[in-house]
Each structure stands twice: as structure tokens, then as C-alpha cells.
Amino acid sequence: MIDTSLPAATAIYSCRSAVQVEHHRLPHPAFKEFSFRLRTFERELGEEVENEYWKPFLRSLKRYRFEVTAAPLGFGNPIVMPADLLGWLHAQLEQCTMLYPKFAASSRKLLQSLDQLVEGNDNPLLDHISRLSGSARRQKLTVLLKESRLITTFEDTLSSRHLINLIEVVGEGQLRGSECFDEIVCIGPSRWFASYIFSAPRAPRIQVLHFDWIKDQWRDSAVFIGSAKSQKDSGSDWQRIADEARYDTEEIVKKAAEEPSDQLEVEELLPILDLDQISNRLAQSSSVSNSEQDEAEARLFQLEDGSGVFLDADEGSSWLVIDLGKEEEARVKRINVSSIEPGMFVLLREVGGGDYIVPVADTILGQQASNARGLQRHWKSKLRDAVQSSSSYTVSMQLKSHGSVRANEGNVRNWMSARNIRTDDERDFTAIMRFVGLGEETAKYWKNAALIDRAHRQAGGHIRKLLLRQVLKADLRDLERLGRMRFELSESGGGQMIALRVVACSPTINRMPLAHIGRLFELEGDVWRG
């Protein structure tokens, strides 16, 4: 089976050569009023924006504004504005009158706008799509959503309107493949989407659907400095931009200059996430006394469903990922955490989090597991106690005097960590055993550590093999579309694992408690700060 056949590739080139991108700017005075009131209110708050009273209030409203812009859902859809959230917002307003009287009037107006929207429960994006899907078509209408997590909600809406058989909802990842469509409707401004949606289009016609108060234009820019296209681009090369009808270059430039001031910048609507800041904050808040006992260098990753995860970034540490861009056999593999990139899928234990190797290794160890783990914990706790009562430096010096060849502060911390199984050099292990008073049982402990090490290696290989088998059988369209997929590894003792697409990675590395590594947590609180 060929990934992309010659006729399929021909269809892609045809789409590229013929593509027309049209912007449809839809009016909705009530939503515009709400959006601008929200902006005005945020500005009025000034420094109070950081106040814990206002943060969740603003966060909820901004999230709502984004979601009804990013998906054609009714303004009153309970997924984007649940009744309890609306009630909470009103409760906040009540308190505000007493606590922050100077913001009472504007926050009341803001919520009045919201109430009006929720009550109306319409959405012009949805109406427009309904009309498009009704016209005679050979294929289903393809609707592209920026946020994969909203796909299911939108599909529910389509089902309730009996449109599900006329409309196919896709995520960005699906538009990398060989399938071409008649027409793609992008929900939201073009700048929200990856440039390949327009530069390597999978349809000859793309409609960009957004509200008329959002500033947006798509520019087919050159990618190579020395290309003929870049020579043309050096002037004002606004290309293929249309607004119901197509403009010529001069008209577009003129239009850009005359851009009305009552438009919001695309970036203003987007969730803002400073992964660095979050990573630093969480590292500080989780730093506890004696933290050196079970900490590791960790990098923060933002994942598809709005969650985050810290992964072990110590030198030599690796994590299991799915990379759909790789050859079939190499799609599931452990790679260095520093090599994990947006677009890859990280595999995590859904329940309990943490290291997915341990439970599988325990299954492999069988009846020996409990005793083997107990012996491991025993010598590590003795070493940890010694560090606690003095320091890692002192312990490293003492280990050297017992014959250790690699003892230093870092290695001592590493050796006493639960994620480290044994020292690389047996002389270091012997020194530790002597130092903690287990010298006579060195052989037994060394053999035990080797047993665990072997089980961990087998477990890693086994999990990879099982996952690969499931990935090869799975409908990868769903993985691409939704950005997440569950895998059942119960038979091996691994339980349920979830693959989540990486959206962004923090450039900085922080020391985090081991217990936090590989565990999903909500980034929601941080996303809507901007």
C-alpha cells in the first residue's frame, strides 16, 4: 500500500495550483459588543487583572470568547458556557458591587452582554456552514477546527441539527495527508492555522470564516530568500486574498491602510501560555525541604487537551513517543526528552501517572517483585538517611574512601533516587554497600539490582512492541484529528495509556519532584491569563 499514490499526488498539486482563499467576515453585533466590552473591562482593571478575584472571572470569559470563535457552536452551548459557570459569574458580580464598586457597572454590562448571547444561542458561523452544507455537493463539506478538543462538541451540535452526514470535521493534522477535499472551511482567522493549510492546501477552495471584528488576511509568502517568488514578494505582494469578492493588490493595500480601529488583533483572542513562567512557578512551589532526595531535571510540555506534563530531562533520559512522521517500524520509540517536538505524541499512564515501566516490570518479575523492590528501597533509604544527616558532599567523600570511583554530589543524588536502579560501575555499588553497612551482602544486592534492571529493559521493549502493534492497527486519522488516543496495555500490567499530541515545549529545565514527572495536570488556570 503506497502512502500517496501518483493520482493522489496529482490531486494535491492541482489543489496547490488552483487554490483560492476566501475570507468571509460575518457580523454579529451582540458578540462584537461582548468581545469589546471584555477588552475594555480588562483594560479598566489595570493591575487588578492579577488579582485572584478577577483572574478566574476574566479567564472564563476569555475562554468563552475564544471557543465560540474557534468552533461553530451556539453561544448558549452548555459545553462552552455551563449553567453553573454562568451562575458563578453572576455571583461574582454580586460580590463585586461590595468589594470593587468601581468595576461594578462595567462588569454588569459585560455580563448583560453575555446573558444576551447565551439566551440567543445562535451563531452565524454555524448558520453559514449549514447553508454551505445544504448546497449540492459531491463530497461532504470539510470543516477545519483549530482546537481538536472542540471537534467532538461540534459534532454533537451537527448531530442535533441532522447535519452530521453532510459535514466532516477535521483537525490540522489530517490536512498533511494525501486526501483531498472539495472545499475546506476554516473556522477562525487564517493566522490561527499552520501555514501549510494554505500553502499546501488539500482543497482547491478554502473559505476562512470569522467574525467581522477580527483583523485577518492570509499572505502567500515566499519561504526561500533567493527564490523568484521572494523577489516578487519584496514589494507589497498581497496574494489571493478575497473578501467575498477578490481584491487586486492595490485595493488590498489600501484596505489594510484603512483598517477600522474597531477590530481585534488575532493574537488578542488566542490563549496565552508562558510555559517557562509556569515551569519556574511550579518548580518553586514544589520545592520542599529534603527535595534533593527525589528530584530530577524536568521539562514542561503543553499537550493537546489543555494539560501539561513534566518529563524527565536528565541526560540520558528518554520517553516513549509516537511520531507519525516516521517509518512504520519507528513510529513508537523511546527518544531523548530534548528531542521531543510539537506534533509528536507522548505516551502517559492515564491512571496514576508516573513511570509506566515499573508496573510492567513488576509483572515480569512476578513473585520476586515485592522482595526485589523491598531490597532496593532498603539500601536506597539507608543512603538517603546518610545524606539527610550530613550532606551529599560528605557522603560522596566517604564513598570515595570506601573505594568509589565516581562518587560526587550529583551521582550520590542520582544513586539514592528511586528512578536509578544501580550504579554503572560495580565498585561504586560496593562502596555504597560498605558505607551503609550492607557490605557483606553486596553480591545479593547487586544481583537484585541486575534483576530489576533486566526486568525494566524487558518491560520497555515489551510496551513498545505492544503499542506499535496497536498503533499499526489503529485508525490514525482519529489520532491526527483529535490529538489523543487511548491504548490498553492491561494484559501486560501497563494499564491504560494515553497518547497526547505535544503542542509546545518549555525551553527551560527545572528540578521537579519525581512524583510530578509523567503526571498530567491542567494548564487551564494559566492559559487564559493574557
Binding site: 501518483l6 499526488a9 494535491i12 495550483s17 490536512l175 500553502s199 519561504v223 526561500f224
Partner: protein, 343 residues
Amino acid sequence: MSLSDIYFGVDGEWEILPEWASYFLFLGFFIASQPKTETRSIIGVALPTRAYAAALAATGVVYNRTVMTKSRVEADDHFQALCELPSGTSITYLHGKRNLGGVLLGSTDKFGEKRLVVKTSSAKSDNETHYVRASDALKVQPTTSETQVGKPVRGSTKRQTGKLVAPVSEFARALLGAESIADFTLTSRLECCTIGRLSALRQEAGETVFATPLPSATWTPANNDFQRGTLQDVMRVRKFMGEGKAYRTDAIAAQSENVVTLARDAAPHVTIFDGSAGFTKWRDYWRSSHWLVLLDSTETGFDEATRSLNTEYITNRIGDVSTANVPAPPAGVELVFYRERLR
């Protein structure tokens, strides 16, 4: 047979290669024809899909290096042989579309290069003198010399030895010319190396059937007057053939850990980077060959790879090159072409 006469099978019928696909054949042909003495050529292309681009370009490279190089070598040898013939030898000279009779008078250096002096006669003009360049020597053929026909060795008791030859498809034979085939199947020469996704390349090179029409046949798309084969028959990718077979191309997976070792042992005429990963990671090891950098816009690493190529362009480009002869890309495909000093 030329590169523009290639068909592919679809739903039981033959269709001429679409424009975009022919483009990559000609792009491969073009970069292979570039001189590589003190400088080398770099072509970067931004594509809407990577499908078939590397396989077709590699086919173009091998075609150029097999057919064109052979013609050049043959013409040079033939020129030398003609120079040594006695003055007055009867010859034929292909002038335009007409094959004229005449005599070879010898050679001259009066044009700053050695040329043959040929006198022809025809119904329209008597005793016309032509000064034929070395590159056109094959147009001059002696008529007095008899072709030596080798007799088959019969009844030889000597034990036959030799190496196993991978059979050549009719497609490859038609495309490259029967006279090239013996050398093609017996001699390994690394003309081209691709770095990218092996499984995709293997499928594209080996599973899609291509064909050229029989020269004399009056054909319809549905008939069988086609010489069939695959791109692999022309590319002869070492990795996709058995041990010991004569190859012309090698293919390396972008995620391979052996790229550095392989690069040390290989010196292809052209390196084709099939996707961003191979280019971003390994380009520094392939600086002695021409580069064809094929970047799929939908790849995650596309932006990083284009940034890298732009940096290469700014840092290493020497002078301006004419793009007049570069095959014009299909609509929507962006191309950059420059030269840099060989290191």
C-alpha cells in the same frame, strides 16, 4: 527514448506522467548536468507533498549520468578515431535532418579547438565544407568500415564464470538505450544518494508501474504496446537490491545512526534530501555533491529546514546564477537555485 515519454499505469490504462511528475524527472536531470569542478549546485524546492518527488528526481539523475555521460564519452572516443582516419575516407554526415554522403578531409585547430573537416555533397549544394566539433562527432560515420560482427562462441568447454546480473526491465532498456544496459547492469556507480523516508521511497520506486510506448507501434492508452518497469529499474537503489548487484543510487533513512559512516564512504554526484529531517540533521556530511533539497511544506520540521537553507544561501552562495535553464516549477511550487564553492 526521452524523459518526456513516460507513462504510468492507472486503473488498467496508461496515462502520460502529469506535469508535476515530469518536472521532478527534469529537475534531477538538470542538477546532474551541472558542472562540479570548483563549485557545486544547490536547488531547494518547497512542495505540497513529498510523494514521488525524490524517486522521480533520482531517476532523472541516473538517466542523465547514464545516457548523457555515456554519449559524451562515446563522442570523444569517436572523434579521436575519426581524427586518425586517412584523408579522403568516405563518410556520412548527419546535417540537420539529412544524412549526407561525403569525405573526411582531416582535422583543424583554426577555431581554437580541434574540429573535423568534412566535405559533403548533395542535390542542393555541391562540395560543402563542415567543421565538426568533438561533441558532434557521432554525426560523422565512416561508410567504408565494415562492422565487425562477433561470432558466438559455440562448444566452448571453458567454464563460464561471472557475477549475477539483476535483470533489466524493458522500461529501463527503452529509456536508457540498449547500448547502455550492459554497463548499467554490470558496473556499480554511485550517482545519487537520497536521505529521507526509506519505506515511502521503496514503495514509490518499486510498486508503481511506469512504461514507455514502443517506438513503432500505433498505440492507444489501453493497449499493451508498452515497455513496462519501475523507477527502481533505473534508480537501482543499492538498499533495495540484493548484495552484489550493480547499483546507481543509495538510500539512507533520515533517522539512521550510520549516516556519518555512510557519508565518509560515499561520494554521490547528487544528494537528494527527501524531507526536512535528513537535511537539517545530516547536510554537513554531503558537501561534495550537488544538493537537491525537497522540503514538504506539511512536515513539522519544514520551517527549521527552510531557515537552514536560507542561512546556507546567505552564507555560502557565490555570484548569481542564471535560472533560465532551470526547469520551471509547477504552479505553487517554490524553488531556489544557487552555487557554492566545493569544500
